[in-house]
Symmetry: C2
Subunit: 654 residues, 2 copies
Amino acid sequence: MGHSVSDGGQKPESDVASQHQMENVRSVYKVGLPPRKKLTKEFTDTVKETFFADDPLRHFRDQPKRKKIMLGLQAFFPVLDWGRQYNLKKFKGDLIAGLTIASLCIPQDIGYAKLANLDPQYGLYSSFVPPLIYSVMGSSRDIAIGPVAVVSLLLGTLLRNEIDPQKNKEEYLRLAFTATFFAGITQAALGCLRLGFLIDFLSHAAIVGFMGGAAITIALQQLKGLLGINNFTKKTDIISVMRSVWGEVHHGWNWETIIIGISFLAFLLLAKYIGKKNKKFFWVPAIAPLISVILATFFVYITRADKKGVQIVRKIRKGVNPSSVDQIHFTGSYAAKGFRIGVVAGMVALTEAVAIGRTFAAMKDYQLDGNKELVALGTMNVIGSMTSCYVATGSFSRSAVNYMAGCQTAVSNMIMSLVVFLTLEVITPLFKYTPNAILASIIISAVIGLLDYEAALLIWKIDKLDFIACMGAFFGVVFASVEIGLLISVAISFAKLLLQVTRPRIALLGNLPGTTIYRNVEQYPETIQVPGFLIVRVDSAIYFSNSNYVKERILRWLTDEEDKLKENQLPRIEFLIVEMSPVIDIDTSGIHAIEDLYKSLRKRDIQLVLANPGPVVMDKLVASKFTDVIGHDKIFLTVGEAVLTCAPKSSLAA
Amino acid sequence: MGHSVSDGGQKPESDVASQHQMENVRSVYKVGLPPRKKLTKEFTDTVKETFFADDPLRHFRDQPKRKKIMLGLQAFFPVLDWGRQYNLKKFKGDLIAGLTIASLCIPQDIGYAKLANLDPQYGLYSSFVPPLIYSVMGSSRDIAIGPVAVVSLLLGTLLRNEIDPQKNKEEYLRLAFTATFFAGITQAALGCLRLGFLIDFLSHAAIVGFMGGAAITIALQQLKGLLGINNFTKKTDIISVMRSVWGEVHHGWNWETIIIGISFLAFLLLAKYIGKKNKKFFWVPAIAPLISVILATFFVYITRADKKGVQIVRKIRKGVNPSSVDQIHFTGSYAAKGFRIGVVAGMVALTEAVAIGRTFAAMKDYQLDGNKELVALGTMNVIGSMTSCYVATGSFSRSAVNYMAGCQTAVSNMIMSLVVFLTLEVITPLFKYTPNAILASIIISAVIGLLDYEAALLIWKIDKLDFIACMGAFFGVVFASVEIGLLISVAISFAKLLLQVTRPRIALLGNLPGTTIYRNVEQYPETIQVPGFLIVRVDSAIYFSNSNYVKERILRWLTDEEDKLKENQLPRIEFLIVEMSPVIDIDTSGIHAIEDLYKSLRKRDIQLVLANPGPVVMDKLVASKFTDVIGHDKIFLTVGEAVLTCAPKSSLAA
């Protein structure tokens, strides 16, 4: 019984009965008013849904105390959870993946450190400690941790605004560690305070634009290394860079450097193309950079091209990360500066890591606890800042390689970390003759992947405002600076949200002939307007920011409609039905607006009818006594019912 | 034909036919995809709805050129419109109202000027020129223009932060005119740029709290005059003021002053009570202040109480407004300071004027063009700043008196202005012996009306978050300062908007037995969940700020439900229906979230079904090719239809 709906399609003879039932619906169902929640309950519910929406303690419920402690430990160190099911088969996958991403990360790290105006070894340091920490605390199985291009560039730009890295190398380095420390603190604090949702305010569109712009900027910066230019601008905008490049064309370009750079760039791009064409060859672009480095270094070493002006890495410190605890500014003006830079760099780093984590979690269908991730990332950067690392996060390109190489758990990060450790201990002196041009080629071929024009095209197709945010971020980064681009994208995203709550859509509804369904007349041209009625739907919560607009829009619609009817000598409007289904909330300003609407309608001798107010709205309408004012019989479950009930009284039925 | 709905209630025999029609609905109606608008059209539509929502040029359509010019002039000078229907009967009403508000405004003006740390005549100046300008340019018929308590206090506080009014009186005055000039420019610019909707961002709740706090602060400031204290704190927070009051209790209080102040305050409050009890005696509280001033002045003059320490006005300049064009700073650092102060004071003044305008327009059912009002208010302040006035706006108390005295048009403002002119020219010297205590009493009795505890109580009942905003503003003003209170209220209001777009409600739907209606199970406990289905409704646009939350919330609900079903060994869920009616918009992040949802569901072998996506959402689903991915047959007009169509395939029907 009861489910006349679900079997209605099969037994037509029961339809008549159900139709009779439907006729009675009017008297059977009233618009529900949910039982009033107690204030404390309402408050805790709101707090829970805002900060603990993912119900992080659900696993702890109804568990013995011993188990709870174990679960608590596992929450902070997921390795205790997945470690117990770890086996040789998984290790095989992780080993291959770990070796692959290590071969990719070593040359990238050296290059990215240059983007942050740091010596090459700091890139390698940042690929040693942070991945180790993450692999015991993080819950993503596919992310590859280490320095990334965009954060390196951003950090480099922000730090250089404060201290010149050439003139005052020591202080610059100290500020870098300070910023890294505060980036980690920011990340961990956001996680602990369960404010991880804040990073959602950087929209997908803004990220696409920002990453694309950063890719262009980073590639442009590489022209210094690729063309062997000595006097290169310190600004990052395209105009300054191009002026710098062309200004040096006659005496600044070094042709040997260009030949090395261009030929290896072609090789790397070819490798990338092969990897893209056939997924089986994913390892080709992954190991191409290391091969390039080895070949180029060997080539320079035997030809001593460095004596012909080919710039080389020259010195790179051997050995693992030294401690840097005593170098962090915990107080003073540099601490404040480091804090400001750290917050920005930390947030951008987060955005990248969380986006990667989510993407791969969706592909393998496992859940990620965003806030726990933040704590893991934060801890890893705090510890990193004390062991001579700069801000590390998840890398798009290396994570994709990690995934394709068949990684199973965070053990692949440990393997990578181990390889980097061996490199630092044993091989680093060999990088002495590595030409800068090859590093530039590697960076260019890496950041090209961030230029996601297909995503931009899709954004254009789907949402024009999103596209503006995307382009704003892109051009902001390319023509001004990384910070300006970031600021523009956040501003446009916020403006978009505010626009939605300021100017909600209000739709005119009509009846689909032969049904009791009422739909937007614009979307369904076959709908018919019911004489004597004006039916509108408010497509948003009614808040102070839009309450006046909503009221005035409805009244204006009414005036327009009345003018039209008068012209055609049709019967006048007697009922204004407001379909409230999408009105999920209303505040005091909204209640006042509806009261004003009601007053204005009374002056025009039109009755206000509400259809399907939701639980919250109903609650507030009752609390404000507005239901008494318009009459409880003016509130219906559906528009169809409202029309059915009101129509006989209208002039139409006469 | 067609309207089987509206006559369905009368002819039951036709129901069977209509029911058969309904059965066919599934094949008849597809979810509509509105014709794609051209990009330029879409763009202009959005701009129009955002900035020209009220269609200000509608009257100009299809009019001859001559008429258009006339209409254009009338748009800027509404006096040309209503002036033509002006008659003696209307003038009678305006005359009485004008005289009444004049008698109220003169003593108030003198007191308010003190709040702004200005000499008394500047208050009167501001009640002479601005009302005249407004009466030819403004479109509200009931507003009474002049200086008001809250803006005077705000302006005084902000100006004192820059320049000490005692030590550097000249510069202080110049900065006041500069701020007034920029307040006017801000107001006019907002109107011209059609950004009037920005003031909607100050919510009703915030205004109630802010006004209440300002009332307390202003009343506390009056203790100086009322108790005759000489050394009074310059801060406005309650703690500093109370310390100042009690610190001076032994040698600072002047008992003659207190007797005058308290007795007249009692008289004024009694008059207010009489006016409130019986609307016919509205004029009693209106003229009581002037009577008090006359009596008290006369009393002081004959007793020479000023020699016993009763502070008096002492000097007040005779004659009308001198020009102050040359005193305004148009460049330099004071111009920048004046600009900053002007913007804040101008916005607060606007909020008050627009709130008054709207209230009375709703009571008499006439339309106000918000943006035109801004231009009128702005012009009046710009001209005011050049004729020695400070920021004027609509006054709550005087506008109410104006309305009750039967004002018909803005002519009542002209009458008031004329009376103020005569006062300035003839009577001002007589105010020399007016005791400051009486002015304090008048201000206290005036601002008491701003303490709207009933509104606060209603806000508490309706919306707890609104109440927090209200209290935040109130305590911010009382315990810190006017600016802090303003800042707090704006911040809380914005946070509330962002909360809504970050954590939208997602409702679980059930079937109302015997109907095809699906409603929130929390609101309608009688609903039944259909086996094999999970039906959820997303109650918000899906944007980047909430897309992840929406996806994860739905998946978590699914997991919970599946666990429950497994425990009770019930058939598993095969279909997830997402009711999209309230989803008025979706952006690229939202599309990605739905795609991720679809992928996760596929892994669990559950089919995703969409019900009633709106025009914009449908458009974007098609543009992103997501409709092809899930299949066009998975998108239904209603949840009922979706259940009907899917059910036979489900295990339940087998």
